[in-house]
């Protein structure tokens, strides 16, 4: 008997078909990966399983028993545990308190912390999920918080664990650690559904893979018969070509930082004596563990912060005016780290967000918004960059992450910028969108722009960069020619080790 069985699940939202006749099953002790691009219907399917939505047709069985649709309680009772991409923990409580939260009846006066503590310790030991029950959740790292989420599910005696994009927030080391834990759990008889769009990880962790596309189940393969290329093709529906790197002859310096320092402010690391020169027709990749000064460096290049000392030369001249609008006008393309919170205003319409930093420079006599012009240029860019939306008057919050990123790229790259500051431009996007974003950046380089690419994805950095710099605790090493480095060296520099030979430093 199958542990979990989806039978002919259909779900429509208005005219949008989110799930179209999906049937799939999960065996005992199996890791099944559900692969699909954003919007392929993965999340809808999980929401149906978890009782957040009710399917229009079809049903779900757990160990042969029909699951009551639309009831989260029923799903929990059936032993289904879910670890969401965005954690659902109360920061001001301890690990233990978070885990027992919601498991105890309201009518009980004293909580049974002692039993809970023992059970928690046992679970954590059994699966190698190291965690101190008395720590406050606010003090935990992202990886630790995820462990708490997993233990929370196990504590409720889950036998089926759903992980929604669990590695999106983890470092490579934490991912390895997580995979070890998952293997342990499967050996102990649990079944796991692993939702992701990262091909490497899926190939590494799962036994079987199902692929969703546009709400349909388009493929099912045993992992041993799958390859990265075949999966990508199945997921996207066509052959995916990775953008090709090409070394070009570099031109003049576009930006230059000389001994730039930035005072640390609450919650962010400062910068110490940063020296960096980026030329036309080159991409500098900036590697580093998140929170080591990338935000500060990006904010200087984006005109959001001015250095406390040192010099920032833009196109050969010392910059005095740290103003996003001035930088944009001078030929800087800015791609923000958080595209939905920083890159767009969701409540405004698409054409309004196309104005963005150029609001004033594109206004008639600097004051009246030239709506006709703005709408027609928005229409043109929507076409050119293939932004999927209902048109220039669509509410921007309704766009998918990939389309929001396309909007931001279209807005900044259509001005033929000479310098691009791209802060994690491909993060959280699906395959199709990632190669689109990367191709756009490469095209801009070919046209003559210099690029600073900040990323946590080392593969991406190695694939695209001409030179790589590493930031640790507000200090910069390099940049070094990409050909002289390997991933291990960069990894060591990311944790603060110095590179011995700095011969290749330009």
């Amino acid at each position: 008997m199958k542990k979990l069985q989806f039978s002919k699940i259909c779900k429509n939202f208005g005219s949008v078909v989110a799930n179209d006749n999906i049937s799939l099953s999960l065996g005992e002790g199996e890791i099944l990966s559900v692969l699909g691009e954003n919007g392929a219907g993965k999340t809808t399917l999980m929401n149906i399983l978890f009782g957040h939505y009710i399917s229009d047709k079809g049903f779900i069985e757990v160990e042969g028993q029909r699951l009551t649709p639309g009831s989260t309680r029923a799903s929990l009772d059936a032993g289904i545990g879910m670890v969401h991409q965005h954690f659902t923990l109360a920061d001001n409580l301890t690990v233990l308190e978070n885990i027992i939260l919601g498991t105890e009846p309201l009518t009980r006066l004293w909580s049974q912390k002692k039993q809970a503590y023992t059970k928690l310790k046992a679970l954590s030991k059994r699966f190698g999920l190291l965690i101190n029950p008395d720590d406050k959740v606010a003090d935990l790292t992202v990886g630790e918080k995820q462990r708490v989420e997993i233990i929370k599910a196990l504590y409720r005696d889950a036998s089926i664990l759903i992980l929604d994009e669990p590695t999106a927030v983890l470092t490579p080391q934490e991912t390895t650690q997580l995979f070890k834990v998952l293997k342990e759990m499967v050996n102990a008889g649990l079944s796991i559904m692993f939702i992701s769009h990262k091909l490497n990880e899926i190939l590494e962790i799962s036994d079987r893979i199902v692929v969703l596309r546009h709400g349909k189940l388009v493929g099912e393969v045993a992992t041993k018969n799958a390859s990265k290329e075949s999966l990508a093709e199945m997921m996207v529906g066509r052959k995916v070509t990775r953008p090709a790197y090409e070394k070009l002859k570099i031109g003049k310096a576009v930006v230059e930082l000389n001994d730039v320092c930035l005072k640390s402010s609450e919650g962010s690391v400062g910068l110490t004596n940063i020296n960096l020169k980026i030329h036309e027709k080159e991409i500098i990749g900036l590697a580093g563990v998140s929170g080591n000064g990338q935000a500060g460096l990006a904010s200087i290049f984006q005109g959001l912060a001015s250095p406390s000392s040192g010099e920032f030369k833009l196109f050969g001249e010392s910059l005095i005016k740290y103003d996003p609008r001035y930088l944009t006008k001078s030929g800087v393309a800015r791609i923000p780290e958080d595209r939905t919170k920083e890159g767009i205003i969701g409540e405004m319409e698409v054409w309004e967000n196309f104005l963005g930093e150029q609001l004033r420079s594109k206004a008639k006599s600097g004051f009246f918004i030239d709506k006709k012009q703005a709408v027609s240029s928005a229409e043109k860019l929507i076409q050119e960059y293939d932004i999927r939306c209902e048109g220039p008057f669509a509410s921007t919050r309704l766009l998918s992450g990939g389309n929001i990123q396309k909007l931001i790229l279209a807005r900044s790259l259509s001005n033929n910028p000479r310098f691009i500051i791209a802060n994690k431009p491909a993060r959280g996007l699906d395959e199709g969108a990632i190669s689109f974003v990367q191709q756009q950046i490469i095209n801009a380089k070919t046209k003559g722009a210099g690029v600073l690419l900040i990323s946590e994805d080392l593969d991406e950095i190695f694939e695209l960069s001409d030179r790589i710099a590493v930031i640790f605790n507000g200090r910069l090493q390099g940049p070094f020619d990409t050909s002289t480095l390997n991933i291990n060296q960069v990894g060591l520099m990311m944790s603060g080790e110095m590179k011995e030979d700095s011969l290749h430093e330009a």
């Binding site: 959001l304 996003p324 920083e342 009246f368 918004i369």
Partner: protein, 350 residues
């Protein structure tokens, strides 16, 4: 029963919402009228007659709507940028004080100049007094709800002091009121044998101007952007502090103009009873209009009609005119509940 997020609320629903809310208010209000010992139907007939039943009634309602349009706009503009100015009442009195200061004989100019001068003086006074809470907010992160609200009482007491002391009009037979606005500053009556004055035109013009600013200009974009998302606004190069300051100046200025139009239009002189809470009612006006400047005109006229009509109702049916407050409060609550329904859909069953 549960709530589901709507992707996009249909336009007809948004337009219908205030009307439905008012209907609900009247239905619920009926119970209170029965409780007060009246017949709802006769009461509502009296209310409608009293507010819309004759030319005089209509002009009375419109005259009452004038200050509400100004204070409603003041709240609508500020709330768009999520700047919570609760001090329109105080700013109204500042405008009235400025009009009194300038308009009682210090200067005398032809009406075409004198009236604009009074309005500009009143608007400036409203701006200036709001500057204090704004600077406290932008420089020291002091919550503006507290500062603007409490300033109302300070200003009211200050007006009281002026009226009992230096500004007390010796010709007023001992009443605490200031000297009359000189003839050239008085807003002309626009409908014969009524109290409806030029202020209504100015108020409507200001609504259209504010609507145009919000919709067609860089300022409007920035005000809306800051209200929606400060982080993205900063990324776009919009200075949050500058935008908040600008919004506050608009808001304070509009509230100040309400004071001018009451002093130079309806009353003719400054008293402590100049405003029966127009500043606070302005918030209800703005919410009922869903912060839309043109909607403010309609919702101000509606609320004014209820207040004016309720007076007539209480005279003829002999129930307290506080029913008006109940009706306004219920329509406001219905709009709030209703605006939730434009964002969510109720799904019956599980």
């Amino acid at each position: 029963m549960r709530l589901k997020t709507r992707r996009n609320a249909p336009v007809w629903l948004i337009a219908l919402l205030p009307i439905l809310s008012i209907g609900v208010a009247f239905i619920i209000g009926a119970f209170f009228i029965i409780w007060a010992g009246g017949s709802p139907i006769t009461a509502y007939i009296a209310l409608i007659k009293g507010s819309l039943g004759s030319t005089f009634a209509i002009t009375e309602s419109l005259a009452r709507a004038i200050p509400l349009i100004f204070t409603g706009l003041a709240a609508a503009v500020a709330f768009r940028a999520k700047f919570w100015n609760i001090g329109a009442e105080g700013q109204l009195y500042c405008g009235a004080m400025a009009a009194t200061l300038v308009g009682t004989g210090v200067i005398d100019l032809p009406s075409v100049i004198m009236i604009p001068v009074l309005f500009i003086a009143g608007a400036l006074a409203g701006c200036l007094i709001l500057l204090l809470p704004v600077l406290l907010k932008t420089h020291m992160k002091v919550d503006e709800v507290v500062t603007t609200l409490l300033l109302n009482f300070v200003i009211l007491l200050f007006v009281n002091m002026l009226l009992e002391g230096p500004w007390k009009d010796p010709m007023a037979m001992g009443w605490p009121q200031a000297a009359r606005i000189i003839d050239s500053g008085v807003l002309p009556i626009i409908v014969a044998k009524s109290r409806l004055h030029l202020g209504i035109i100015i108020a409507i013009v200001m609504s259209v101007v504010m609507w145009a600013i919000l919709r067609f200009t860089v300022w409007g974009y920035e005000i809306r952007a800051v209200g929606y998302n400060q982080q993205a606004s900063t990324f776009y190069g919009i200075s949050i502090n500058k935008s908040v300051l600008m919004v506050a100046l608009f808001s304070g200025g509009l509230a100040g103009m309400a004071g001018v139009s009451e002093v130079a239009g309806l009353k003719g002189y400054l008293t402590l009873t100049l405003s029966p809470g127009f500043g606070y009612t302005g918030i209800a006006v703005a919410m009922l209009a869903q912060l839309h400047p043109i909607g403010v005109i309609i919702s101000a006229i509606f609320l004014a009609s209820i207040y004016v009509g309720a007076d007539a109702m209480s005279r003829s049916v002999n129930i307290p005119n506080y029913i008006a407050d109940i009706l306004v409060a219920i329509s406001l609550l219905s709009v709030l509940v209703g605006s939730m329904l434009t964002r969510f859909r109720i799904v019956w069953g599980k």
